[in-house]
């Protein structure tokens, strides 16, 4: 009896999985394959084109601008991921505890995520250009806009990225915290586990799956950062904040470099997949251990 049951279960699973995979294939993989094909051409996105073989890939590894954009993007993604995860975990714990005005607070903290890029861009431009320097001057420092500094502009972008995406990661952590049954805390508090100890030994291990989801989503959001850069610096000053997506979009779609930027996208894609598979293997092992 058990055997037939399993078979029908497998069959149902396959009947669910395969059509959805097919849909995914049609609207994600198929266009991707076309993109890979274009990466061997000098296609502009429309009109006639010709084959150029591996030229785009060879150019890619010799292009200093592309190299710098990789360095910038990974630096930004790494720092922002840490900042966002720490803050949103704290925020989630706070918003999940017994507090007053819970709904209002949760609603307010969610707002950064919905404000349109134009609004965010204008306000933070204003903040970094006028308000922050004035504040620094008031406390006696040298007040220059950090958006105009090739050294520090990435920091401003980091702040805005974090500001916007903390809301999303907080929601995921909050929904993770819901899965922690109250009796775990009750049992824990009998053992005297409170505060940090309670978090470290009880709460955190239980929400590790959500921690790894947030890591992956952060990686995705910040490695592919585009909106915030368009809103704040448009790649400046002196091309110091050009992200990979910025180049792919601006030069590939708006410019005439579609083929070359397709090659860039392919390399970028392979790179991230390798990283995230490694990361998932790593956190996957951790999850099993716990």
């Amino acid at each position: 009896m058990k055997g037939t049951k399993l078979d029908s279960k497998q069959k149902t699973y396959l009947l669910i999985t395969i059509p959805i995979l097919a849909l995914f294939f049609c609207f994600n993989t198929l266009p991707l394959i076309k993109g890979v094909i274009y990466s061997f051409t000098n296609f502009r996105g429309y009109g006639d084109y010709s084959w150029v073989g591996l030229r785009n890939y060879i150019d890619l590894f010799q292009d200093g601008r592309v190299g710098r954009s990789y360095w910038f993007t990974f630096k930004l993604a790494f720092v922002t991921t840490i900042v966002v995860n720490v803050i949103s975990l704290i925020l989630a714990l706070g918003l999940n505890s017994k507090i007053k005005f819970k709904s209002a607070l949760r609603g307010m903290y969610f707002i950064p995520n919905i404000l349109g890029a134009l609004v965010v861009g204008y306000i933070f431009n204003y903040f970094f250009t006028y308000i922050l320097p004035a504040v620094i001057q008031m406390v006696g420092g040298q007040g220059n806009s950090i958006l105009a500094s090739t050294k520090w502009a990435w920091f401003a972008i980091m702040i805005v990225c974090a500001w916007q995406s903390i809301a999303m990661n907080t929601i995921i952590y909050i929904s993770g915290l819901q899965t922690v049954p109250q009796d775990v805390y009750e049992a824990g508090s009998i053992d005297g586990a409170t505060g940090w100890a309670q978090f470290k030994h009880l709460t955190f291990p239980l929400i590790i799956p959500f921690f790894s989801i947030n890591m992956v989503l952060c990686m995705k959001n910040f490695l592919m950062v585009f909106d915030q850069i368009m809103a704040l610096t448009k790649g400046g000053p002196a091309q110091s904040t050009e992200s990979i997506s910025f180049l792919i979009y601006n030069n590939g779609m708006s410019g005439g470099q579609f083929g070359f930027q397709s090659a860039n996208a392919v390399v970028f894609f392979i790179m991230i997949v390798v990283i995230s598979v490694a990361q998932m293997r790593f956190t996957g092992k951790k999850e099993e251990q716990l």
Binding site: I16, Y46, G47, D48, G236, Q239, G256, Q257
Partner: protein, 427 residues
């Protein structure tokens, strides 16, 4: 299992019905009228184009003109081309996209269009110059142009008795004089990289040959040679701007100029609406960038801002030409000029907006050359390179990078030019 089946049925029904309900593309005729579809790329001109279309449709009973002025029209046009859904006429600027469209065989030859006779030859030549390699035919009908140079606050100038400069030395003298009064000569807004191109273009037309990019493509000269003076003069301008010009954007600069914080702004006439939105009563005039050491050496920096191109896919060229005839009529052009403060390309007398007073002699004489950046591929990011240069202030590094990057980003075009030369011999 049953539920599973119904689910699949539902999903497939959804997909199927959408395929059926999907494309119902309008065909060439509505009520027996030939439909001419015009897509133009200036969303700010949507109102005047609606009026023009209304007027056209009221006076023509065999042709229906449908005008579309989408936001982000360049992206939309490209997606239309990918779908092979070509409008009959496209209204675009005379920039590198136009060159790409010619090269991709999207545009039709309109040299048989009689209305071209009405157009100022300078603008037809500008379009000619945008072809990567000399191509048989004419592919666009210039409609209006814009002009860039220096905008100035006429009231401030009159109060202080400042004179319009005609040479570089006079210009620098004026800047010193303005600075002494405590008013900023310029407010640049170089945070938005594209604004770096405005003074660059205006200086370059005075100081470098108009076809410098083609010359370089033919291997006759280098940018290091031709752009040196332009680059040096850019640096000179920089010292008359606000402190830390890379912190402030276009919007800040417009606001500052509108509020009288600066006396001049090195930008094109297109910035006037934004400036006037902050200060509606402001009296703005402009003058040609005096980059040269003699008044005769200066040229107006003017390019085709809007031209009409008929696509190769257009099935009824005659109807399209009738639309063009209407758009080039004196009244239609004047209507557009009043709305958009543009410079006409039609060789007739028009009433120009007051902020073009200072440029009028040049416009009437036809003494003008195209924006240099219309030849720059956007992916080369010349605007960002100029910003980098103004930050580092290293002329040599900037120019040598310009030359190497040019060769890299224009490789296919240069190869095309060389092939053409080999075939046709050096002119």
């Amino acid at each position: 299992m049953k539920k599973l089946c119904t689910c699949f049925l539902l999903v497939s029904a959804l997909v199927f019905s959408t395929i059926l309900s999907g494309c119902s593309n309008s065909n060439a005729k509505i009520d027996g009228k030939t439909v001419v579809e015009l897509v133009q790329y200036k969303p700010e001109a949507v109102a005047v184009f609606e009026q023009l279309a209304e007027k056209f449709n009221a006076t023509h009973d065999d042709i229906y003109l449908k005008v579309d002025s989408p936001n982000d029209a360049m992206t939309i046009l490209k997606t239309m081309f990918i779908r092979e859904d070509y409008p009959d006429i496209i209204g675009i600027g005379g920039d590198i996209n136009y060159s790409y469209f010619i090269d991709s065989n999207i545009l039709a030859d309109v040299s048989d269009y009689p209305g071209l006779q009405k157009i100022k030859p300078a603008y037809v030549d500008i379009l000619e110059g945008l072809e990567f390699v000399p191509t048989e035919g004419t592919f666009g009908v210039p409609f209006v142009a814009n002009a860039a140079g220096v905008l100035y606050n006429r009231q401030l100038f009159q109060e202080n008795g400042w004179e319009i400069p005609t040479t570089w030395d006079e210009f620098m003298g004026l800047c010193d004089e303005i600075q002494k009064t405590g008013i900023l000569p310029f407010y640049f807004g170089f945070k938005d990289t594209w604004t770096c191109l405005a003074p660059w273009n205006a200086l370059a037309v005075d100081l470098a040959p108009a076809d410098v990019c083609q010359q370089v493509n033919r291997g006759e000269t280098t940018f290091s040679k031709e752009y040196r003076e332009t680059a040096e003069k850019m640096l000179q301008l920089l010292q008359y701007g606000e402190e830390g010009p890379f912190a402030y954007g276009y919007n800040d600069a417009c606001t500052a100029f509108a509020n009288g914080q600066s006396a001049m702004y090195t930008i094109g006439s297109y910035a006037v609406p934004q400036i006037k939105s902050v200060n509606p009563d402001m009296d703005i005039d402009s003058f040609v960038m005096p980059g040269s050491s003699s008044p005769e050496g200066n040229t107006l920096n003017s390019g085709v801002d809007l031209q009409f191109c008929v696509t190769q896919a257009c099935t009824n060229k005659e109807a399209a030409y009738k639309v063009l005839d209407f758009l080039l009529e004196h009244d239609s052009v004047q209507m557009y000029l009043d709305d958009q403060n543009a410079v006409p390309c039609v060789n007739e007398t028009f009433e120009l907006a007051p902020m073009l007073d200072g440029m009028k002699p040049y416009i009437e004489e036809g003494k003008m050359s195209d924006y240099q950046d219309h030849y720059y591929p956007s992916e080369m990011a010349v605007d960002a390179q100029i910003q980098t240069f103004l930050l580092n202030q290293d002329v040599d590094a900037f120019l040598s990078k310009f030359d190497t990057d040019w060769a890299r980003y224009n490789r296919d075009i240069i190869a095309m030019v060389h092939e053409y030369q080999a075939k046709h011999g050096n002119q």
